[in-house]
């Protein structure tokens, strides 16, 4: 399970933090500081993985990626795969890039709540929900559009319906349990 997502700039200022288990704000600050300390001490051309049990408790590790002025950090436990988490950071950043067209730190700062919306479409309750940035974009755009038209009960067309038209994949399983 993913424990936390932290986006911070290279000065250690948090830009987005999301903890999937509740942490009091002071604790969050402490963790962010310590994560920043760990990341600062890492050399340039080393792996993107850090064992984090001294910061986040036993059986935790973190994967980080450095983009321009930002660090993207995912903290997770042994039930996730490090390389896959690295790709999930990629998914997040790709989505942001699609969403903001050449995303930069300013976009992230100014569109704080949109960022949360995007993240919520990728990670849900600490589990990976969606890994296709196109799908995430669709969902986010849907939300923006609906939010703008303040009619909350507006029935929207089945834009995403093509998904459910896709061939039924696990037919064998289905028949087994009948």
């Amino acid at each position: 399970m993913i424990r936390a997502v932290i986006v911070m700039n290279t000065q250690g200022k948090p830009r987005l933090t999301k903890f999937y288990d509740y942490m009091p704000p002071e604790k969050q600050q402490e963790l962010i500081r310590r994560v920043f300390g760990v990341l600062c001490s890492r050399a340039e051309n080393v792996s993107n993985f850090v064992e984090a049990d001294s910061v986040f408790g036993p059986d935790t590790r973190l994967v980080y990626k450095h983009y321009a002025t930002l660090y993207f950090v995912f903290v997770f436990d042994s039930s996730e795969n490090e390389l896959a988490m690295l790709d999930l950071i990629q998914v997040l950043v790709e989505t942001l890039d699609k969403c903001f067209k050449n995303v930069c730190e300013l976009d992230i700062v100014f569109n704080y709540s949109k960022l949360h919306t995007i993240l919520d479409e990728i990670i849900f309750g600490g589990q990976v929900l969606e890994t296709s940035s196109a799908e995430v974009m669709k969902a986010v755009e849907e939300i923006s559009r609906l939010s703008l038209s303040l009619c909350f009960c507006w029935k929207q067309p089945q834009i995403l319906s093509h998904l459910s038209l896709s061939p039924f994949l696990v037919g064998e399983v289905d028949s087994m349990h009948e």
């Binding site: 200022k13 792996s47 321009a68 039930s79 890039d97 303040l150 995403l160 459910s164």
Partner: protein, 962 residues
């Protein structure tokens, strides 16, 4: 511009962000944020705020809290916002509450109703928002309130909703498995959902469930295998592809599940071989995600019943990983290797060089992973190299957490595989020297035990060699500055026990060194206590050997200094030493037999050797001992204590003019009337009464006191008798009454031992120990009434000081211990107590250092049923036997492989850093380049809005994805 649509913020917010971004220092930032908080506090309560504005306030609150400031004043507004009809506001409200509140927060109750309503909404986005909140905010108690709706949503027409409903259920399961056990079948059903995304989501809870109980899901092996097959064969819609890989995250989850299901199950494993083999072949090893899937395949292969072909494929992938330039892949390769060597140890051989490279790599993560691998492949043949490496690394790092871990691993490996005793001791010395205060104190005990027992063989000469080599190495190390306390304790103990044993070093040399230790660490009472006891042992052995003892002047001054120490423990030890030195050889030999630290100590719990003394005293008119069950509780200890404390204050300085009457008030009445039974609760240890019984019996016998006083107290007892005393409290009430009966006029020993025992049940023990003599006086004065206060205390302290040496003289053999327990602080018990501690493998908490600090722990240990220690002894024997076998193995000539492993360490050290400066770029995003025009436009816009970018480079993500 898309970035503003729907999420627009006012200039105010942008200004805030900008000013924070430009803040030069943390203090300046704090000032800005605090000002912002003030503004928000004021404005958020204004009437009729437009909704859009309110939304922005909430976002600003979230932002403020992210920066580490308290925004709790606005929580309620966020909660209110979740009630709003507008989706935008509702979502903002939910976002804020999920970030602000934990599941046990008081405000949750105000949200549950809204969540219930929203889960039933027609708008699936509202439902999604509510499900998101459910994941974060619903605790065990509120699960039932939303569970029916969430289960209903499993059948929702939107797959996005179904997915999230499953994950919400999963969250419920994590939070409280019992609340959703009846719904587990839903997960199985949803595995067959039309939508592959929903199926993929179902794998998360199933993984958790299977991890707990794989057997109940064996029937799903075929289904999982067939799903994985279809995914790998690209039968999923294109939208599930990620970087040309078909649904890699689903593949990874399935492989994880298969690894669990196939573990130790040949039949299940056989079903998986084909599909896993297929993935090995098809997987794209050029992309990051492809390697992630390959790594997961290796994990699966190493977990399921082994298959030679798959193992071969796994080994190939591992070697590719290890040869890769990417540190990430090397890391994965090392990790995969450590999984696979459990099944096929020979695979490590071909990768030695790569492993050594990783060990020398500047990347700390990689290094640690490699040490983990080495730790797993340690054998008796390579233990020396590996542990040496580990120790070198341990010395080089500063991170205490990891230092501790690696130190304990060194110790573990050394204990398990040590090729020779000499090496073991050298290794332990190094570990202690560099991480002594970080390792478990039990390790020190084990080391002392090993030195005391040898390796359990009958071969005495080997043991002697071991000991003398230990003594030698310690004498070498002892002068070094900044040795950790635990290590010093070991050194002192070994020097005391075996320093003079070989005849190589004279007693004066050893004692001189011990005095140096005590002097150099004058602030560490534990070390000093060890040193003094060691001194005593050295002198005792000298006396027993018939040599004359010449105490060094520095030693003498040390003893004198300690006999006036604030620590009663040190005082006691010092007095004991003085007493022992004056004894004759025969007596000393019995008290302090040479090399007997491993011997059991017999304890006569009935104190029968005192029977004649008791009879004599009774004939002389002493008061008979009243068993505790006949004495009902009289006066609460804690009341006495508080009374004591009052006395202390009145004795020293009185600030309040009218405090005086309280002291002069009859102490017998007020405490009794006050005594609430709850205050007795802290002392309910079951072994306690027994102990009290023994300790108490002696003093009552030695009673010479006034019947008058006792009678008076009896009267009080009847008058104020408390039938409310319940049995669990009896122990303390007994001690109380005992104190009341005996304490005043009888042997001071009783009162002190009672008070000390009482002290031992409180955490602040050590602090109290120091002032206990003060307290003794106060207790005596309290019991004796104001008139006797002056005389009593002095006689008390005298007697206490002397009481121990007669006890030692009087008693014979092992009983010395028992009798000295009746002494106040049994010095005798401290040194002799160590052997049982060392043998006591079953109880890691009882450590020698603790025992030296806490004499009453020792008493308990001595009076414990003997089975406990004997059981522990068995354990110890088994253990040493095991170690024996290990050491036998280690004597064998090293196997071919091990020598190959060992050599590279020495020869290839220079090969480090073959691959510096290799980047870990991700190859996936090359197609997308930066667009300078866009960035410039954006920058211009931002500037228009009055915001200067906080970095010189407006195109911050120029190298993004590149």
């Amino acid at each position: 511009m898309g970035s503003q649509g729907g999420f627009g913020n006012s200039k105010e917010f942008l200004d805030l962000v900008k000013s924070i971004g430009e803040a030069r220092s943390k203090a300046e930032e704090d000032r800005i944020v605090l000002h912002e908080i003030e503004t928000l506090k004021r404005r958020i309560v204004e009437p009729d705020i437009p909704k859009r504005k309110m939304k922005e306030f909430i976002i600003r609150l979230v932002y403020v809290e992210m920066l580490g400031h308290d925004a709790s004043f606005g929580y309620i507004h966020a909660v209110k916002m979740t009630h709003d009809d507008s989706l935008l506001l509702k979502r903002t409200g939910y976002l804020a509450v999920t970030l602000f509140l934990n599941e046990d927060h008081d405000l949750i109750i105000l949200i549950v109703n809204t969540i219930q309503k929203d889960l039933k909404s027609d708008n699936y986005l509202v439902v999604c928002a509510a499900l998101n909140a459910v994941c974060k905010l619903i605790n065990e108690e509120t699960i039932p309130a939303v569970l029916p709706q969430v289960v209903e949503l499993l059948g929702h027409s939107k797959e996005a909703v179904r997915k999230k409903a499953i994950m919400a259920l999963h969250r419920f399961y994590q939070r409280s498995p019992s609340s959703v056990t009846h719904l587990v079948s839903n997960f199985r059903k949803k595995l067959c959902d039309n939508d592959p995304g929903v199926m993929g989501a179902t794998l998360c809870p199933l993984f958790d469930l299977i991890a707990v109980d794989a057997n109940s899901y064996k029937d799903l092996v075929i289904s999982f295998v067939s799903i994985l097959k279809q995914v790998a064969e690209r039968r999923l819609p294109k939208t599930y592809d990620y970087h040309q890989m078909p649904a890699p995250f689903i593949q990874i989850r399935l492989l994880k599940i298969l690894a669990l299901l196939g573990s130790g199950d040949r039949q299940a494993s056989e079903n998986m071989y084909t599909v896993v083999g297929d993935i090995f072949r098809k997987c794209d090893s050029t992309s990051n995600i492809g390697n992630a899937v390959l790594y997961e395949c290796i994990c699966c292969v190493s977990s399921i019943y082994p298959n030679p072909k798959l193992l071969e494929a796994a080994a190939d992938v591992i070697s590719r990983f290890l040869k890769s330039d990417s540190h990430n892949l090397k890391y994965m390769g090392i990790d995969a290797l450590s999984r696979l060597i459990k099944i096929s140890p020979e695979i490590a051989e071909q990768h030695q060089l790569a492993v050594i490279d990783c060990l020398e790599d500047p990347d700390d993560t990689l290094k640690r992973k490699t040490f983990e691998l080495l730790y797993r492949m340690t054998k008796s043949s390579n233990v020396e190299v590996i542990v040496d490496r580990m120790i070198d690394y341990m010395i080089s790092i500063n991170d205490n957490h990891y230092k501790t871990e690696i130190a304990s691993r060194c110790v573990e490996l050394a204990e398990q595989f040590a090729p020779s005793n000499h090496w073991f001791i050298q290794t332990m010395n190094k570990v202690f020297e560099h991480a002594g205060d970080l390792v478990n104190i039990k390790v020190a005990d084990n080391l002392m035990r090993l030195i005391a027992e040898g390796f359990g063989e009958d071969d005495d000469t080997a043991d002697c060699q071991l000991r003398s080599s230990a003594v030698e190495s310690y004498l070498r190390i002892i002068g070094e500055p900044k040795l950790p306390s635990a290590f010093l304790q070991v050194i002192c103990w070994v020097l005391g026990e075996y320093g003079t044993a070989g005849g190589k070093y004279s007693a004066s040399y050893i004692t001189g060194k011990l005095c140096d230790v005590a002097e150099a660490h004058s602030s560490n009472d534990t070390v000093k206590a060890y040193a003094v006891t060691a001194l005593m042992k050295v002198y005792a052995f000298e006396i027993a050997a018939g040599r004359k003892v010449d105490m060094l002047p520095e030693c003498q001054s040390l003893i004198e200094e300690l006999s006036a120490s604030h620590s009663t423990d040190l005082q006691q030890r010092a007095y004991e030493l003085q007493a022992v030195v004056t004894l004759d050889a025969h007596a000393v030999e019995i008290i302090m037999p040479s090399d007997a630290s491993c011997e059991d100590i017999e304890v006569d719990k009935n104190l029968s050797f005192l029977d004649s003394y008791v009879e004599r005293s009774l004939e002389q008119g002493a008061q008979p001992y009243i068993p505790e069950n006949e004495r009902s509780g009289m006066i609460n200890i804690s009341n006495f204590r508080s009374q004591d404390q009052h006395d202390t204050s009145t004795h020293t300085l009185r600030f309040e003019a009218y405090e005086l009457p309280k002291t002069s008030a009859p102490p017998r009445i007020s405490p009794v009337s006050l005594a609430p039974s709850t205050e007795l609760v802290p002392v309910p240890e079951p072994s306690y009464p027994v102990e009290m019984h023994h300790v108490a019996s002696v003093p009552s016998v030695s009673d010479t006191g006034s019947t008058e006083l006792r009678l008076r107290l009896d009267g009080v007892q009847k008058k104020w008798g408390r039938p409310t005393y319940s049995s669990p409290a009896s122990s303390s009430s007994d001690s109380t009454s005992h104190k009341a009966v005996n304490g005043v006029t009888q042997s001071d020993v009783s009162s002190t031992s009672t008070s000390r025992t009482r002290d031992s049940s409180y955490d602040s023990r050590s602090a109290q120990a120091e002032i206990s003599s003060e307290k003794k006086k106060l207790a005596a004065s309290l019991f004796g009434g104001p008139s006797k206060t002056e005389k009593r205390p002095s006689s008390t302290s005298h007697k206490v000081a002397r009481s121990t040496s007669p006890a030692v003289e009087k008693s014979q053999g092992p009983k010395a211990v028992a009798s000295s327990t009746t002494g106040v602080v049994s010095e005798k018990a401290a040194p002799l107590q160590q052997p049982p501690d060392l043998l006591d493998l079953g109880e890691p908490t009882v450590t020698s250092s603790a025992s030296s600090v806490d004499p009453f722990k020792q008493l308990e240990g001595l009076l414990d049923p003997t089975q406990a220690t004997s059981a522990a002894n068995h354990g110890a024997v088994d253990n040493t036997k095991a170690a024996d076998i290990m050491s036998m193995y280690s004597e064998f000539p090293p196997s071919g492989q091990s020598s190959v492993i060992a050599n590279p360490f020495t020869t290839n050290a220079g090969d480090a850093n073959l691959i510096p400066g290799l980047s870990t770029t991700n190859k996936t995003g090359h197609a997308k380049g930066p667009n300078p025009r866009d960035a410039l436009e954006k920058d211009a816009l931002v500037r228009q809005m009055g915001v200067t970018p906080m970095s010189q480079n407006p195109n911050l993500f120029k190298d993004l994805l590149g």
